[in-house]
């Protein structure tokens, strides 16, 4: 179990290591610290959004050992030692991931609040199922609520990515 450290006021904290986007952070957190807040406030990774904070909207989605989870329902101590991917870790070598580019190309982003979670859910889908049909795409993003786009462009963007129909610079 994570090492516990009690400060002079008697507050207990736990020394945990979060491997976020390939970067290991060893940090102190209280038992009641929620992963979303630790990512945003302690690691400054504010791409992970907070909406409902109760597991309904998916704006806090991160990949935990490659699988999408709602980080608002995960204690930071529970993620000790695990691999976390946030939206900041999706870009590679300074280039947008194909899904991100495709979302831009398809105008699948309006206010953008759902987008980080949406991209991570789509990315996890394409990793386990590189050629999903529309139904599978809709299922995979069903835990990501978007109040702006009506989903049609998002679904098209994901399908276009799967079908290799993403052109880099046509936005």
């Amino acid at each position: 179990m994570a090492q516990a450290i009690t400060d002079k006021d008697g507050v207990k904290r736990y020394l945990i290591t979060l491997n976020v986007n390939g970067d290991a952070h060893t940090i102190l957190v209280k038992g009641n610290a929620i992963l979303t807040n630790v990512l945003r406030d302690q690691l400054d990774l504010t791409g992970t959004k907070k909406g409902c904070e109760l597991g309904d909207c998916g704006s806090c989605t991160v990949l935990l050992d490659g699988k999408p989870v709602d980080s608002c329902l995960v204690l930071a101590v529970e993620a000790d030692g695990r691999q976390i991917t946030t939206i900041e870790g999706v870009m590679e070598n300074g280039r947008l991931d194909a899904i991100q580019q495709s979302m831009i190309n398809h105008a699948a982003v309006q206010c953008g609040y759902c987008t980080p979670g949406m991209v991570l859910s789509a990315k996890a889908l394409l990793t386990r199922n590189p050629h999903p049909n529309e139904q599978e795409v809709r299922e995979a993003i069903s835990g990501n609520l978007c109040r702006c786009t009506g989903y049609v462009h998002i679904v098209e963007a994901v399908l276009a990515t799967a079908q290799g129909r993403v052109t880099p610079d046509d936005h």
Binding site: M1, A2, K12, Y14, K30, G31, N32, I34, E53, L54, G55, D56, G58, T61, L64, K67, P68, V69, D70, C72, L73, V74, L75, V77, E78, S121, A124, E139, A140, S142, G143, N144
Partner: protein, 288 residues
């Protein structure tokens, strides 16, 4: 949203977890996937002094075949159940029930153990597990006991769990059933709790039913097995009329309440329709 503070424990073995729980008694709450525990803590319905996390008990995540039974560790996630090739091959109805549940994000966190221990009548996994005659193993510092899952629930969110106990495994015995299925009606296809649902298992012999189990979700203060409906089917020639009649018995036995998900009257009606269709599906399609 604020989460009240607590003392955190993450034991490395079941024995260690039991020792901690024995010492803390009802001051401790077990934490599995946390989708209910953290939800309740955030909305102010739960403020445990101690949380005992099961996250290090990897042996409770396993789904395996043993002589005479299939064993599912209590920490198996809904997505693990949905994607288990073993379960898909043996009892496809169970992965399909897991697939009716919440979003992918919740299904990667939530566990079958948490779904059972919660004790709520809307939980999606207990009905099909009871239809498949599953039993559970409860472990504590005092020892172990097993009981049919059916006997575990007894009132609104009431279970026979004693303080200090951990649900460690769910066991599905090898059986004579020829089919089983779980039919759920939710207001959306994804991420919605059941307005009503019916799980059935059947043992077809010739053109009659030799054995049948019918278990309802979201139809009473607790998960509900409907014996009258089951009895009405045994030994009689299977036809649509017979199945509709069993649906009527199930509807009569159900005691849903008016809720935001539907009026009591509507839900009762749904029970009848879902029971009839579930029976037909299990008879025609096997474990589906």
């Amino acid at each position: 949203m604020y989460v009240p503070d607590f003392e955190y424990h993450a034991p490395n073995t079941v024995a260690e977890a039991c020792a901690i729980l024995a010492e803390l008694g009802d001051r401790a709450t077990v934490l599995a996937g946390g989708t209910d525990v953290l939800h309740k803590m955030k909305v102010g319905k739960l403020a445990p002094e101690h949380l005992v996390s099961l996250k290090n008990l990897d042996e409770l995540r396993e789904i395996r075949e043993e002589p005479g039974r299939v064993v599912i560790g209590a920490l198996a996630s809904h997505n693990q159940i949905y994607t288990s090739q073993l379960l898909q091959r043996r009892y496809l109805s169970l992965p399909m029930a897991a697939h009716t549940m919440a979003s992918n994000q919740i299904c990667n966190l939530g566990t079958v153990g948490g779904n059972i221990v919660n004790g709520v009548p809307s939980a999606d996994l207990p009905p099909i597990l009871i239809a498949l005659d599953a039993s559970i193993r409860l472990t504590s510092a005092k020892g172990e006991r097993t009981m049919p899952l059916e006997d575990f629930f007894w009132g609104s969110a009431q279970t026979r769990m004693e303080p200090g106990e951990i649900l460690t495994e769910i066991s599905i015995p090898d059986q004579q059933t020829t089919g089983s299925t779980y039919l759920k009606f939710g207001l959306r296809r994804s991420g919605a709790l059941a307005v009503a649902a019916a799980a059935v298992s059947v043992q077809v012999s010739g053109d009659t039913l030799h054995a049948v189990r019918i278990v309802l979700a979201s139809a009473a203060p607790t998960v509900l097995r409907v014996a009258d409906a089951e009895r009405s089917l045994i030994g009689r020639r299977i036809d649509d009329e017979l199945l509709a009649e069993a649906g009527q018995f199930a509807a009569q036995a159900s005691r849903p309440r008016d809720s935001i998900r539907g009026s009591a009257e509507y839900r009762k009606n749904l029970v009848g329709v879902l029971t009839k269709r579930a029976l037909k599906k299990a008879i025609d399609e096997g474990h589906a």
